[in-house]
Point group: C2
Chain length 365, copies 2
Amino acid sequence: MINKNLNKLSEQYLFSEIGKIIKSRQNVINLSVGDVKLPLPSAVVEAGKKAAEELKYKQTFRGYPPETGYDFFKRAVISYYNCRGTIIDESEVFASDGIKSDMSLFLNVIEQGKVLLPSPCYPAYIDANILRGNELEFYDGFPPKAPDIIIICSPDNPTGRAMSRIELTEWVAYARKNNSLILYDAAYEAFITNDAPRSIYEIDGARECAVEFCSLSKTAGFTGVRCGYTIVPKECGLNAAWRRVKSCLSNGVSYITQRMAECALTEALSETMSNVKYYADNAAIMAEALSGAEFSGGQNSPYIWLKCGDSYKEFYKLLDEFGLGVTPGIGFGQGGEGYVRINAFCTRDDAVTAAERLKQYSSLR
Amino acid sequence: MINKNLNKLSEQYLFSEIGKIIKSRQNVINLSVGDVKLPLPSAVVEAGKKAAEELKYKQTFRGYPPETGYDFFKRAVISYYNCRGTIIDESEVFASDGIKSDMSLFLNVIEQGKVLLPSPCYPAYIDANILRGNELEFYDGFPPKAPDIIIICSPDNPTGRAMSRIELTEWVAYARKNNSLILYDAAYEAFITNDAPRSIYEIDGARECAVEFCSLSKTAGFTGVRCGYTIVPKECGLNAAWRRVKSCLSNGVSYITQRMAECALTEALSETMSNVKYYADNAAIMAEALSGAEFSGGQNSPYIWLKCGDSYKEFYKLLDEFGLGVTPGIGFGQGGEGYVRINAFCTRDDAVTAAERLKQYSSLR
């Protein structure tokens, strides 16, 4: 009776497993699961409290949210894109509770087929595609035979690389030529400070072939509040189908949550972005300590992807000898072997201490 | 590229479509989409505001929620079951944002196969199973050839019938004999006042063959807050698989939401239940006005399922001649033709006015 595809999944979800091991140790700085540490801006909390208060009175009570999100939320998302010169229509914005769930839901819109995934990659992509019955192929550059779906994450998790405008332009051209759909994970776009695109729609032609998933988890500290959004342009031909799938397989996003998200993307946007900068600075501090070592990320990204040798061995070494909890690269697939991922979602004090330890670790190699 | 199963779905999701037609009319009492009208109990709102406030400070900030729900939430659900003498273990409770999304997510745990659905039935069941690629069969009693999955909703949407202890015992025996899995939708259990089971686990043997889905939407007025739970007993053999699927395809439920739900099921439980009674009384008032007409529900349920003739014709008649927005039975599948569904999620004033109009409608037939 159990879905046979479940047997193809690794037994535990990576982050749950690693989290348990790290928690079992004392005095460890946890740089593994990318969970935010800074509290929410006051204005965002007040927006949530005000929305909750409205539910107390008959006159202002709200029931079912619109399936695709409240207009006020969509307008906030649109203004957030407009700041960067990207134009999105209200009908193209869909509220979600995060990327993991919405990307897996989105797979329902597309016929089963061949999916091209980065290697290494965020494990939830693999799981969702296995459960959907898709055929997986891992890439390093353009494959000769075109896939149906291409998953791109930029700035990338786990490697911390932000795709350049030229690279992304090539991917869009490749997808259009081959009639592939790009599922673009922009979870870390707010960390980009150079001229890399923050949205795939900065690339001409992307509206014809790409769906963009984004989340306030890392941008606005919403890992516990749960809000994200998916952009499905009219030109990609899937907007109506997604609307239909969304309305029959999901319940919409809480009113309180959407009001908090609206505030984070508008009134509290500068505070939101200064929190992003706090983590970006953490990454820079740790990256500096690793100068001389081979790594990617550390800028335009909250992640550092450090070359180190056997990834589980180095994970345990960093954990037990240096008091640092990181994520073994192998957890992101075979392509991640030989690396560990270090994330910068920690306090400044922890980043500074971790930098010292990383320097020591790195100098001993 | 588009999932071919999408072509098998009806073009619009029933409730969106009907909602638009009703909204286009003036001065209509909307008894169609079952959305709650009473505001939330003060204590529930205060619990939400307190939880939001905690997110403002470093010391009390919370990031990612546990994938299966917070322990405090699970304990609240368990106590809610315990009140009725049903014992559930913490490891068997999974927080969700509602039944529609969690039941469709749950289908990932089970191999594609034959699904037995009630006729008429809640359209989201049909859509989710079509998208999953399952083969649908509609039942009226036990089919000769056993299905892989059996969906039961009790008290039923749309017919308003609460399954008796004897009927449900027969279904459990049938499922166990045939190695079928029952997906039990208990969304309206709080409306039961007679001795019908409020949980399928009141039936011996159900823990071996049934998963129960429940929601606070109708019980606690949470259609806008979004919180539900799914019970997966250890004995059914799917607990670990569901835990795995849940962790890779979903993000967990907002901390604020779970605190509000905890309050609704514990501290504010009597107020929660008095709101349920308010709607149940609405149903009774309308049912009384229909005495002499042929209908089910109206007790142990917020729904009245009224036999009336051509369901779209009567929908428009009720809408345009009597100012009542109902749901045409055909929207719940072929088995619903000849009926309309009337829901009691309205104000008392509207219920009383609707009762007068229904009496008039009924007397003219």
